[in-house]
């Protein structure tokens, strides 16, 4: 392991100064997120952008970079949140241990769902992921002694986070934001690492031409399973962040509507772009915020805007912006 990939993400550096600057994508993304609470109308919105940004970023690995349209990503988002809450609330595990435990368990869930779903292709893959994720939803609904069922999981609150002798009041929104941002930074570093790695090249080859990738000597099924697990792991970290943030886990986050929202966010922001998921999450949440003030039927408007995007801006907000600036083309 060497330094974070920001310093070495020169895989395909473009010649322009802007292109070179964008090679520092992890550092740049962290810088933007660091000032986000002051750019957005509310602190709460900024925290949500952070959380959903991480979830959608993990999903982007699967959908944007590997070309696998899953409708079940909510399962890993939810699993991360539930496992964190259960570990802290029921077993008294300290938060810094609960998060990696939750990510590991969620990755195991991703392995189980991935083994079944990655054997199928196209629409069948989408449907199998949807069905298995709904199965997870119903398990969480039924196992109410563990999960709180319909009421959601309650009874765990992290009010102070302390690590290495440093103790921070987690109830303070600014502190909370920056602690959660550290998780997001970790996720971004990991994702950038994967994209720059040899394996990152394999998943892109699979997206571009599965048959050719196999003829080149890649075990396509195994690669898909690995990327499914990595994607689930990153999205589950977003779930851990949600649990720490809310101190409850609403059952709804496991529902397929959440999976649909994740798909919409990645398309709004721009699949196959590194920072697109955060832009997409912000766009979606701002739309929801603004429009739901005017009308309870906000989903109608968000849906219409989404359709316009798919028709006219298939690369999403961020992808189109990068293309316009002429720096988005050759980047992994």
């Amino acid at each position: 392991m060497t330094s974070p990939s920001g310093g070495e993400a020169v895989a395909k550096s473009t010649s322009s100064g802007l292109g070179r600057l964008l090679d520092q994508r992890v550092l740049l993304s962290i810088a933007v997120l660091a000032v986000l609470p002051w750019l957005l109308p509310s602190q709460a919105l900024a925290v949500n952008v952070l959380i959903y940004g991480v979830v959608v970023m993990g999903y982007n690995l699967l959908f944007g970079y590997t070309g696998l349209l899953s409708f079940g990503q909510a399962a890993f988002f939810g699993a991360g949140a539930y496992f964190t809450g259960i570990a802290i609330g029921r077993y008294g595990v300290p938060w810094f241990a609960a998060v990696p435990i939750a990510v590991l368990l969620s990755t195991g869930l991703a392995a189980a769902i991935g083994i079944v779903s990655t054997r199928t292709r196209g629409i069948y893959f989408s449907m199998v992921t949807l069905a298995l994720a709904q199965l997870v939803y119903y398990v969480a609904l039924q196992a109410s002694s563990f999960t709180g069922g319909e009421n959601g999981l309650r009874g765990f609150t992290v009010d102070r986070v302390s690590l290495f002798g440093l103790s921070v009041n987690f109830l303070d929104p600014v502190n909370k934001y920056y602690v959660l941002m550290a998780f997001a930074a970790l996720a971004m570093w990991f994702q950038s690492r994967i994209l720059n790695s040899p394996f990152g090249a394999v998943i892109e080859a699979i997206r571009e031409n599965e048959q050719r990738a196999r003829a080149c000597g890649y075990d396509v099924e195994r690669s898909k399973l690995i990327v499914f697990m990595l994607s689930g792991a990153i999205s589950s970290l977003g779930g851990c962040m949600l649990a720490l943030h809310l101190s409850i886990v609403p059952l709804d986050i496991l529902h397929y509507q959440t999976s649909g929202m994740i798909v919409m966010m990645v398309l709004l922001g721009g699949a196959r772009s590194f920072f697109g998921p955060f832009v997409g999450a912000a766009a979606f949440l701002i739309l929801e915020d603004v429009i739901s003030v005017w009308t309870p039927h906000w989903q109608l408007f968000v849906g219409a805007i989404f359709v316009l995007f798919v028709l006219f801006l298939p690369k999403g907000i961020w992808g189109t912006l990068l293309d316009t600036l002429g720096v988005g083309k050759a980047r992994p």
Partner: protein, 251 residues
């Protein structure tokens, strides 16, 4: 190089009730260019798909360098030293020309590594450039593959197959859809390739095949019809009847 490289023993392939191949027994020596010809539907592509692992034969055995290949998954064939190109252009359209070849080279060494930086695998970059140079595409290495001309995409396809340094190179109609100029370039490339390695070629253009190959294998209705040097094939009455007779200068 000499000696037997690949041997097919009684290869047959049925699709339901349809017999695509039946009882093909043939062996290929190392270090020469052999062409497989036959009218449409003769089973050439099926045979090629079996040789490259994309299809499993219904009956018969495949031996490569003395090792039996039956039951090996397709992606392992490259690792054994058998690499192929496709009749219909089959590349990674949205990747750069260089990355198309680099990712193919990478398959033989690192697949699942998520920690190293791929840009630092300089040996792979160099190998990709050598393969691109061999097919005359080094000057376009930074472009997206989808923006290449048809002939260049065919050449890229061969570079992808070539970069794994295969002992046996299977080329499925490399001149399909090419004009005369592009075909000439491709023939020159094939001649260069055949100097150093064993090449199996499926082709439709008879003049080109007879001029290029040391040996020609003729398939007809899924069976082996003839096997010999170009001159023998040209004078074989059976072959003339089913194939050449249709038009001497086909293609």
């Amino acid at each position: 190089m000499s000696g037997e490289l690949l041997r097919a023993e009684g290869i047959g392939k049925h699709f339901g009730g349809f017999v695509a191949l039946e009882g093909i027994t043939v062996s290929f020596a190392a270090g020469q260019l052999t062409s497989i010809i036959g009218p449409n539907g003769a089973g050439k592509s099926t045979f090629f798909n079996i040789l490259s692992g994309a299809l499993t034969p219904t009956s018969g055995k495949l031996h490569f360098r003395g090792r039996e290949l039956n039951g090996l998954p397709q992606h392992r064939f490259v690792h054994q030293g058998i690499s192929r190109s496709y009749q219909i252009t089959n590349i990674f359209p949205d990747l750069s020309v260089h990355e198309n070849v680099r990712v193919a080279a990478q398959a033989l060494t690192v697949s699942y590594d998520i920690w190293r930086n791929r840009a630092r695998l300089t040996e792979l970059n160099a190998r990709a450039d050598v393969a691109l140079d061999a097919v005359g595409l080094l000057g376009r290495r930074a472009e997206l593959a989808k923006f290449l001309s048809h002939g260049q995409q065919r050449a890229l396809e061969i570079a992808i197959a070539l970069v794994s340094e295969p002992e046996l190179l299977l080329l499925d109609e490399p001149t399909a859809g090419m004009g005369p100029e592009e075909t000439k370039d491709m023939v020159a490339l094939l001649e260069r390739l055949a100097e150093k390695r064993t090449v199996l070629l499926v082709e439709h253009k008879m003049k080109m095949v007879l001029g290029l190959s040391k040996r020609v294998v003729v398939l007809h209705h899924g069976r082996l019809l003839a096997d010999g040097a170009p001159d023998e094939i040209r004078s074989n009455p059976e072959v003339r009847r089913v194939y050449l007779g249709q038009s001497e200068g086909y293609g």
